[in-house]
Structures are given as structure tokens and as C-alpha cells.
Assembly symmetry: C2
Homo-oligomer: 378 residues x 2
């Protein structure tokens, strides 16, 4: 078995970029990742592409123009976890000595397809009944508030933190900090989730080069990478949205890495809606169940605290171009671990975690969770 | 390294089935494959899903209802080669001892989305100019006819053969044989390709269970599986559509399997349009370049001849539900090698090949070719 490492990462800008072709987003992300890794087109053994709504072959066209031809190009879809699934498959390919130099790239051009909410498929009964993702998260939030006595203002603290973090991220979609009051006063989307508690529609791409770990190299090792499928909303569970799936995936990822949640210096996780980050930080073991809000109150997960969560601004502020998001999270953690995160650097970070939840647009099933533990050695 | 084998295959019916939910197609294919393989839901380590236009999580929902939960489910897209890409990834996972029991399933519900031709993406300049796939194949056909002195009637012989084969396939979309005259008299789609020379829009699913080869078991070994990306239409080439990509992929697949084209007993290849099969049989080495029509004239590739090509009826007659097609081809070759192909059985077949070409809908780039060499041992 080979230890896989991330040799370089890159991203486009994030946000509504209707005038750019998907290829232009891919080029920016891939060029940065390859340059950073010191890898040329001819050295790549294979490519994994993460996208949800990208046209068939969306990345092949861009890669072709970069001279990346001949090698296998495999596009993967796992809803919002598509980018992390691409990383997972690249990581496994290196670990199993299938390939030695693999590009993982995520791309989503949402403004081509969605003016507002994503429409449910005609066969998606739940979606057509109104159970779109904002509604599902809103119901989860209400249930959570009921169970643990959490206020609307406490939910909004997630958005306050992440919008504050994004101020330092010049690739983020929204860089304006907002107070809890402003967040609560923004337009209601699905009670109790207001506009500033919902991730925006974005265009973007992100990429990573994965290869065998070389001791002494300026790179980040993939200590573990786990992908699981499961339910977005398990009617048999007392828990809110996705909790068991994230917890089970995290347990395996921690075991494989030989660490626990207290060892993490930095986390990027799936804050598609404010409630998502709270439930996720609990499922990851950063706080006991029902006490996730305490992490915010204590500024434990703020930049400047001991375990910053979503220093990039997260999906809420960096934006959420579905297939690109997982690799954008990976890029942020890699930058943090290499000390390249600029104004949002968590000092001395060596161990980080990326978690992405893939909630199917096609209703209440069809979910995935991908978690990777990343470390800078030496 | 472990030798991967196909333990069981299954398919839905193929054709326009607007009243069926995608899950119903998946259930039929997966249930048949699992039953045939003697595998239960809890024994699966992972699932690869091939689809092109399926909604995010299209298969997770169906799998969930079958009790296939928790394990990684990775949806892959590679245009028309998506199903074969799913098989390739499953095969590699077994070969590299990543997993021991993997389901590959392809699903496409085209009648939900397309009434007629597939519309090009807004960013697809070639497609919007009229270079949709029928036009591209038609241009390739015309160029081929010019280069090698081939008549319209000779092109149509592919359709005559494959429509004739499908008569014996009770899961095929079109089971009516047609004469060359009828084929030429059908509605013109893109000169010289008439309606009966173009594959129809279809709904369908197909599945295969892949695991380590067990000597003595009633199964089919994957002797090699190769996936390459490349150009659908290479302006730098003197050759017609995809020839180099298929030839290069085939060369690698034959080398890895240690066989040559003359050793094959049966072939399923990508006859999306009649010209496609002619060019492909040449690129696979069944005939010298420019002499592919001879295979038809001599009935070499007809059922009853020494090397039947597309005994199932091919894409032209079985139908072409994009993501399902590759695994439907695999199912046909597995049935042939196990002597289970009924009225279309090629006697004594032990060595077969599956070839799928993935032409991006997004214009002239974005292509893939997947080839697998399959064998029944002992």
C-alpha cells in the first residue's frame, strides 16, 4: 500500500460567473493545481471529475485543450459530495498503486441552469410536494431546536461566523460580514432558515493532484478517506438530518487515521444551511449531541479559536458550486496545513478534516458522506 | 493481483417505458444480476452506477429500497460509455483487492427527458451549429464512402444484420427484421443515415456483479478492461470518427489479455449508427481498414458466421439507453459465453469482447472508449 498525498491544489473564483464557459473555470483550477504540484499534462495517469449537473464530458473538453488526452477520465456524481468522491477515488487509486499521478477536479456551472431553487425531477414525489432541500433542512432545524432548546439567533451564529471568515477569502462569493440581527432579518426562505443561512448558487471549479507521499516534500498526506452512502432523512431515526451517516463515516475515518476529533486543528464541513454545520460538528465529535451551539458561543470553531470550522467561509459564504465544493474544501484545508491561507491562517495547523454531505436532489434518499483526514508531516 | 470475474448479469426490458420509474428499471436489472450471482444485499462492498442524464442519486434511491445502504455508491458518467466505465471501475476494484463484491449498474430513463433529438448545451458551439451526433456520424459515413467506395446499401447492411439479430432477443426495443431496401427507404435523418440506421431513444437498466475469479465457478473472467479518453472527431487525423481512439484502446486490451482479434468468438460493439459498427470492426482488427463491409458481405459477423458482432441486436435494435448500454453489451457477451443466449446463441463461444464509445453530447471533444475482453474458462 502506498500513502497518498496531495501535491497541489487550485480553484477558480467562486460566485455567479455567467459569462465564463465551464472550461474556463476548469482551466483556472487545474492550471493552479498542476503548477503548484509541478506536474505537466503528460505526467498525469488519470483524471477523476466531480460534477452534478455538468453536461456529459464537461471536463473532457477543457482537459483536451490543456493537452490532457488519452488517459482515463472518469466523471463521478455523488450529489454535493461529488468533488470529495473524485478525491476519494484518486486517493484510493494511488493507495492501491493503480496510478501514481491523478488529477481530481470538480466543476459546476449553476448559473447556466438555475435561476432560483433547483427544480425537483418529475419522478421526485417528495420534491414536488415541497420537500426540497431548504425545507428538509428547515424541518431538521425546527426539530433540533425543539429537542435541544436552541433559538433562531443561535442557529444564525453559524452564518455570522462563516460570513466573517469569508472576509479573508478573496475567492469567496460573499465577503461581507453580517451580524446575527442582519442574518435573522434577511428574507425568510424556509422557516427558521433566512436567506443568509442558506448557501448561494455559484459557479466554480477546484482541483487537486494526488500522488504517492514523498517524505520531505511540501505536501499534505491523506491519512484516511472514507465514502459511505445512506439516508438524508431517516424516518426510523430519532436524530435530525444525516447525523448517523456523518457519525458512522467519521468513526471510520478517525479509526483509519488513528486520531480522534480532539486532534484536529481545522475542519471544512458541509454548512449548506446553518443547521447543517451544527449537526455536523456534533456528528464529527467536536461537541456532544445537542451542544453544538456551545462551539459557537465559546468561539471554539471561530478563526482564532482552537478548532476553526469553515475558515474559508464554508458553503454559506464561499458559495456552493455543487461538484466543485468538496475539492474547494480540500483546497482550503491543504492551504491551512501548508501555512498558505493568508489572512485566515490558523497558526500551526498540521491536522485537518474535510466532510461533505451529498444530499440527492431526487428526494429523501440518495445520500452520501465523504470524509478525508489530511496531515502535513514533519 | 486478483483476477476479476462477472458472477451474474441482469437487464430490464429495453425500449420506451415512460410509465416506469427509473427505480423499477434498476430493480429488475439488479435483482436478476444478484440472483444469478447468488449475492444478497448485505454482501455487496460497493456499487458503481453508470448514467448520463440520470438525476443526482438516481440509483441510490432504488438501491436503498433493496436494502443496499451504507456501502459506497459511486455514480460515473462517461457519455455512452458510462455503463462500461462502471464495469471497468468495478473490475479494477476487484483486481486491486479494494473490494470483493461489487455491483455495476447502468440506468437511463430517456423518455423523461427527450422527445426527439438530444438538445445541445448552450455552451456547445458545434452542437448549436448542427453538429449533433447524427450529423457527425453522417459526415464520417460520407467521408468513409468517398475513401473506400462504399455504397449506401452497403452501410445499410449493418442495420439489416442487427435488426435481424434482435428478432431473437425478447428484451430488445425493435424486433422486426428489415431488408436493405426498407432500411434505405426509411426517413432520412442525416444523409446518408436513414432512420433505421440510427439507434432509438430507450429506457433501460443493466447490471453485473463482479468479484474474484473462483476456478470451477459458472462465471466469466474479465481478462482485460481498458478505458481511454480521446477525440470524437480529430481534425488532425485522416481517419473517420473515433478510429484511432478505438484502435489504441483495443491494442491495449488485446495486449493485456494476451489475445488477438482473430481469437474472439463474439463481439458487442458501439453501433449507434451503421457507420459506427463498420469503423469499429476495422479498428478492433476484425478487418483491414476500408474493408469492414466485407465482414457483412461474407456474413462473417452475422449470427451463424465465425465472429458474430452485436448478436443482441446492438444499439440499433436493442435500443440505446445511454448509461445502461455498456452493461447491456456486457450482459449479452456473458450470456453468449455461458451458453445462455437462447435463439441467438453462438455455439461454443468462450472468448468475447465489449466495446463502447462515449461521444460527448457537448460537441466534438469529450470522448471515451472502453473495451473489456471476457472469457469463460474451462
Amino acid at each position: 500500500m502506498t500513502v497518498p498525498a496531495i501535491k497541489g491544489v487550485g480553484t477558480s473564483l467562486f460566485g455567479k460567473q455567467p459569462d465564463l464557459h465551464p472550461s474556463e473555470l476548469v482551466w483556472r483550477a487545474v492550471d493552479e493545481a498542476m503548477t503548484r504540484a509541478g506536474v505537466t499534462a503528460g505526467e498525469l495517469d488519470a483524471v477523476y471529475v466531480g460534477t452534478v449537473f455538468g453536461a456529459p464530458g464537461v471536463a473532457q473538453r477543457a482537459l483536451h485543450a490543456m493537452g490532457i488526452v488519452g488517459v482515463p477520465v472518469i466523471t463521478v456524481e455523488n450529489a454535493c459530495a461529488s468533488g470529495t468522491t473524485a478525491l476519494h477515488e484518486a486517493s484510493e487509486a494511488v493507495r492501491l498503486d493503480r496510478w501514481a499521478c491523478v488529477l481530481a477536479v470538480g466543476i459546476e456551472k449553476m448559473t447556466d441552469q438555475f435561476a432560483g431553487a433547483i427544480h425537483p425531477e418529475s419522478t421526485d414525489i417528495e420534491g414536488r410536494s415541497g420537500l426540497a432541500l431548504p425545507s428538509l433542512y428547515a424541518m431538521a432545524a425546527t426539530r433540533y431546536q425543539h429537542a435541544f432548546g436552541v433559538t433562531d439567533a443561535e442557529l444564525a451564529m453559524v452564518a455570522e461566523k462563516n460570513h466573517g471568515h469569508a472576509r479573508h477569502n478573496d475567492r469567496a462569493q460573499h465577503r461581507t460580514p453580517h451580524t446575527v440581527e442582519e442574518i435573522l432579518a434577511s428574507r425568510m426562505i424556509a422557516d427558521p432558515l433566512t436567506l443568509l443561512q442558506c448557501c448561494p448558487i455559484a459557479d466554480g471549479a477546484a482541483a487537486a493532484i494526488v500522488g504517492p507521499h514523498e517524505p520531505g516534500a511540501r505536501e499534505v498526506v491523506i491519512r484516511s478517506s472514507v465514502l459511505r452512502s445512506g439516508q438524508l432523512w431517516d424516518h426510523r431515526s430519532e436524530h435530525v438530518w444525516g447525523f448517523e451517516l456523518i457519525r458512522d463515516t467519521a468513526r471510520r475515518a478517525f479509526e483509519a487515521a488513528g486520531i480522534g476529533p480532539a486532534d484536529l486543528d481545522v475542519v471544512e464541513c458541509h454548512d449548506a444551511f446553518t443547521i447543517g454545520e451544527i449537526v455536523t460538528t456534533e456528528a464529527l465529535g467536536l461537541a456532544p449531541e445537542g451542544e453544538g451551539v456551545g462551539l459557537l458561543r465559546d468561539r471554539h470553531t471561530h478563526l482564532g479559536g482552537p478548532q476553526p470550522v469553515n475558515p474559508s467561509g464554508g458553503l454559506l459564504s464561499r458559495g456552493h458550486p455543487l461538484g466543485a465544493t468538496g475539492l474547494a474544501q480540500v483546497a482550503e484545508v491543504v492551504w491551512q496545513l501548508l501555512g498558505e491561507a493568508g489572512g485566515r491562517q490558523h497558526p500551526g495547523a498540521t491536522l485537518g478534516l474535510v466532510e461533505t454531505m451529498g444530499g440527492g436532489v431526487a428526494g429523501v434518499d440518495g445520500n452520501a458522506c465523504a470524509i478525508a483526514v489530511l496531515e502535513r508531516l514533519g
